[in-house]
């Protein structure tokens, strides 16, 4: 008898009710509103520069960017536009109406940015795109696992057999009905965006908007998919304050228009393998600002913005070797020498996909408990409460002397508090797998054996120094596991089921799985020895357990 599969109905079955569709339908109005708001915000913040200086700086930086770093996706009229702005600015310099002209120019620039950022969501494309992905992956899954010629057409296995959704899926559905959800997933691999996209539609939620790097739109087919799935464009080359303000306003206003959003607050894939520790706070701050503005407009009746952390638990990450190399190069500078070379990436992707679907190593995605913008848990009705179960009025965080006041420094501090809460939740929902633990144990033992060496020297140890005694290893593993089980009891972290198996079995499972898809496995057992074959990737997987204070227990 087959297990009954959980299926989620769509919370908004009529696509035209989706906030993202509303945004796309009213694109012009929306970008105009973004422009007006960003304009007001920029004028209100003095950065010690006059408006003219600010504009001149922007023109200068943009012209530099066009020359030094052009991309395929850049519009053809760019050079002309910035020349036009430069000329207009110069001509008005000593005129009586110079201020008026400067403001006009500011508006023109912001509007251009807003139009570039804005996505082009079409619900028909969305359904098509996600259909392709789900169908494609599901076919692969069946072809790889179910035997027989007809397996290609089998319906036996669906993606949710491979990707387990745990945590609070019902809760997020309820929150999406009564408020606006900001999902913040951990980000280790390029696969994450696709996975999260699949999870969102699987849970019956309307499409989310999210910021995708503009460079991803260089390839037409990617651009099609990105647009269809709800992306707006973030150009990381542009660091000028006008662009950043336009971007933040876009995000803030979209939230206020009810668009559920996806932020990867780590900013980019975790290069070191550690769970995000210092989150990029820029876009996260727009959630707080948006909530405050909603309270200003509608008081206690305002729609609430809910933050939902999501952890993606893999036993491995395909890109581990290149990511860790990038990280080590950046942090170690001349102390780090890159030794191994990479081979062609499309070959790797193909082998990876094949191995992923044929072998073990399922993925589990933990949907965290919803929180308000200060990190307080919320119940199914969206009410915030503290650890004693007392009701918290989120609006109060913005109140002084009985009224809501606008205090940017206060909101900046609130973002740091929210970020800390998200990181705490990541650690809680992260599930410790045997593969992480064997990597952690092995690497830490290596550190302890070489107390005088720094990280980079350890990574360059000769082969004979990369062997550990199995008995000692097992002992250390058990000690660390004890601490992890204790943390699990306290609710500070999740664990995979197999972690409670006999140490011998769990260690074997861990060794089999750690870095199994890489060209060279980081760790293997040979009789009574544990051999470290690749300390770099070992370091990467060990990093997954940083942040739990385990160093004191080995």
């Amino acid at each position: 008898m087959s297990k009954k599969k959980v299926r989620y109905s769509e919370i908004l079955p009529k696509t035209h009710q989706w906030p993202i569709v509303n945004l796309a339908k009213n694109r012009k109005k929306f970008t105009e509103e973004v422009t007006e708001e960003a304009f007001t915000n920029i004028l209100a913040t003095s950065r010690g520069k006059s408006l003219r200086e600010e504009l001149e700086m922007t023109v200068y930086r943009e012209k530099l960017r066009i020359k030094a770093n052009p991309w395929k996706v850049d519009p053809e009229d760019e050079k002309d536009f910035w020349k036009y702005i430069q000329d207009k600015l110069a001509e008005s310099q000593n005129e009586e109406n110079s201020r008026e002209v400067e403001e006009e120019i500011l508006r023109e620039i912001i509007l251009r940015y807003a139009n570039e950022i804005a996505g082009n969501f079409k619900s028909s494309s969305y359904r098509f795109a996600r259909g392709v992905i789900t169908f494609g992956f599901a076919r692969l899954l069946n072809a790889a696992r179910v035997k027989g010629f007809t397996s290609l057409f089998s319906r036996q296995l669906d993606l949710d057999d491979k990707i387990h959704i745990v945590g609070e899926p019902e809760h997020i559905r309820k929150l999406a009905k009564i408020g606006t959800v900001v999902m913040v997933p951990t980000h280790f691999s390029n696969l994450d965006s696709i996975l999260i996209g699949w999870v969102i539609q699987f849970l019956g939620l309307p499409a989310f908007i999210y910021g995708a790097g503009l460079n991803l739109f260089n390839i037409k087919i990617f651009a099609y998919f990105m647009n269809s799935l709800g992306a707006y464009k973030v150009d990381r080359r542009k660091k000028n304050p006008v662009y950043l303000e336009a971007l933040k306003t876009y995000s803030s206003l979209a939230l206020r228009w009810g668009c559920h959003s996806l932020f990867f607050p780590g900013g980019t894939r975790s290069r070191s393998g550690e769970i995000e520790k210092s989150l990029k706070l820029g876009l996260l701050s727009t959630a707080i600002e948006a909530q405050r503005i909603l309270f200003q407009k509608k008081g206690e009746q305002a729609r609430k913005i809910f933050i939902v952390p999501v952890t993606i638990n893999y036993q491995f990450t395909l890109e581990a070797p290149s990511l860790i190399n990038e990280h080590l190069k950046r942090t170690g500078q001349e102390r780090y020498y890159q030794e191994s070379d990479e081979f062609s990436s499309s070959y790797k992707i193909a082998t990876f996909l094949l191995k992923f679907f044929t072998k073990g190593s399922d993925i589990s995605i933990s949907i965290g408990k919803g929180m308000d913008i200060l990190g307080n848990y919320v119940d199914d009705q969206g009410h915030s409460y503290d650890k004693n179960g007392n009701l918290i009025h989120t609006k109060d965080y913005f109140v002084t002397d009985g009224q809501i006041t606008v205090d940017p420094q206060r909101e900046q501090t609130y973002v740091r508090i929210l970020a800390q809460r998200i990181v705490e939740e990541y650690h809680k929902y992260n599930r410790v797998f045997a593969s992480h633990l064997v990597a952690y144990t092995a690497f830490k033992m290596l550190e302890r054996k070489n107390p005088k060496l720094d990280l980079y020297s350890i990574l360059r140890l000769p082969d004979e120094d990369l062997e550990l005694d199995y008995k000692e290893f097992k002992k250390a593993y058990k000690k660390l596991r004890k601490r992890i089980l204790k943390l699990n009891k306290k609710g500070k972290t999740g664990i995979a089921d197999h972690l409670t198996d006999k140490a011998e079995d769990a260690i074997r499972l861990g060794l089999d799985n750690v870095g199994m898809y890489h060209a060279q496995r980081p760790l293997i057992r040979k009789d009574e020895k544990i051999i470290i074959q690749n300390p770099n990737t070992l370091y990467y997987y060990h990093n997954r357990l940083v942040g739990y204070g385990l160093e004191k227990y080995i």
Partner: protein, 351 residues
């Protein structure tokens, strides 16, 4: 003449010497102060005499024993409660607190929250998780986030006598610092601000250790050279400790660090100094504690820091020596010999 807004009263929790002094200063600038005393008897006694901790109370200070009123009627609250009672007080107050509250505390001690049977071991060490500052307790026990602290050379008796002084209001929130300035600044009381909340809190907490030692040196009549040697080495120890426990070195070099250290180590108005002084006179610690009306936080801090130092593997010779004296493991005379022989680190490597 424009009509005055009836603003909410400012709350002060704790009618000890510092709490009473602060209530009087606040009363100069605010329409009404609500002062909370822990027991109904105390509240009645204070109200009857219109005097608290030997200080006459301003007429616009209302005394109460109802903690709920502080939460319900005030927006800004100044808790001035000994560290041992702080968490319990917060638990009682918490249902009446909301995120719009601003709390600026003046307690210079650690909260030591462990279960009765907790025994620190190598496998289960005492960490900063178990030992918290008051701002951390406020954040942990309530929905209040806009928290600050007061620190600096603020001997309560001198402030009560209207002698000039200054204090630091530390908070992550500029808003809280501004509120502190607005409510406390007078022509005799200067208010400085700092964003390093934990650092400033640690200044106030750790200087109490050094104050005990300074009192001892005075009690032994060893002279000014010895005391100065001790205090300057003490400052170095404080900074190293402070950095490990979460603060920045800068905090210790200002008013809340050096400033407070100087005032506390040179005055018999300081409780911690007095404890050290009396230990040097061969009084027993139990006797000293029981005879004091108000708590000297330094003693508990010495015990806690002794334990934390071993967890975080830092050398704290002064704290260790004081720990051993308090637990009758070393005589004051032996301590003197030990410290004079100890190879102190000469480097000021924390700048």
């Amino acid at each position: 003449m424009a009509s005055k807004n009836i603003s909410k009263p400012v709350g002060v929790i704790g009618a000890g010497s510092f709490g009473s002094a602060m209530a009087n200063i606040l009363a100069e600038k605010s329409d009404k102060i609500l002062l909370y005393a822990r027991t109904p008897e105390k509240a009645a006694q204070i109200e009857k005499a219109r005097e608290s901790a030997g200080q006459k109370l301003s007429s616009n200070i209302e005394v109460t024993n109802e903690l709920s009123r502080i939460g319900d009627e005030c927006d800004v609250i100044f808790p001035m409660v000994p560290s041992a009672n702080f968490r319990n007080m917060m638990r009682d107050l918490s249902p009446h607190l909301r995120p719009y509250h601003i709390m600026i505390h003046g307690t210079k001690g650690f909260d030591y929250s462990i279960t009765e049977d907790f025994k620190p071991t190598e496998a289960n060490p005492l960490t900063r998780e178990h030992v918290q500052t008051m701002s951390e307790v406020i954040r942990a026990e309530s929905s209040v986030v806009r928290v600050g602290c007061l620190a600096g050379p603020n001997l309560a008796k001198e402030i009560a006598e209207h002698k000039p002084a200054a204090t630091v209001v530390a908070s992550e929130f500029d808003e809280v610092i501004k509120v502190g300035q607005r409510l406390l600044k007078t022509d005799r009381f200067l208010i400085y601000g700092s964003n390093d909340l934990i650092g400033i809190e640690l200044c106030g907490i750790l200087k109490n250790i050094i104050a005990v030692g300074a009192g001892m040196i005075s009690g032994l009549k060893l002279g000014e050279n010895a005391k100065a040697l001790f205090i300057s080495r003490g400052l170095v120890e404080m900074v190293h400790l402070g950095k490990v426990l979460g603060g920045n070195a800068q905090a210790f070099l200002g008013l809340a660090g050096v400033g407070d250290l100087m005032a506390t180590c040179n005055s018999n108005l300081s409780r911690n100094y007095t404890v050290g002084y009396r230990l040097a006179q061969d009084e027993k610690i139990e006797q000293i504690i029981s005879s004091m009306e108000e708590v000297a936080e330094g003693i508990k801090t010495i015990d806690i820091v002794h334990e934390l130092a071993s967890t975080y593997k830092i050398r704290v010779p002064i704290t260790e020596t004081l720990f051993r004296i308090i637990h009758n493991d070393m005589t004051v005379e032996d301590a003197q010999t030990y410290l004079m022989k100890f190879p102190f680190r000469v480097e000021i490597d924390f700048l």
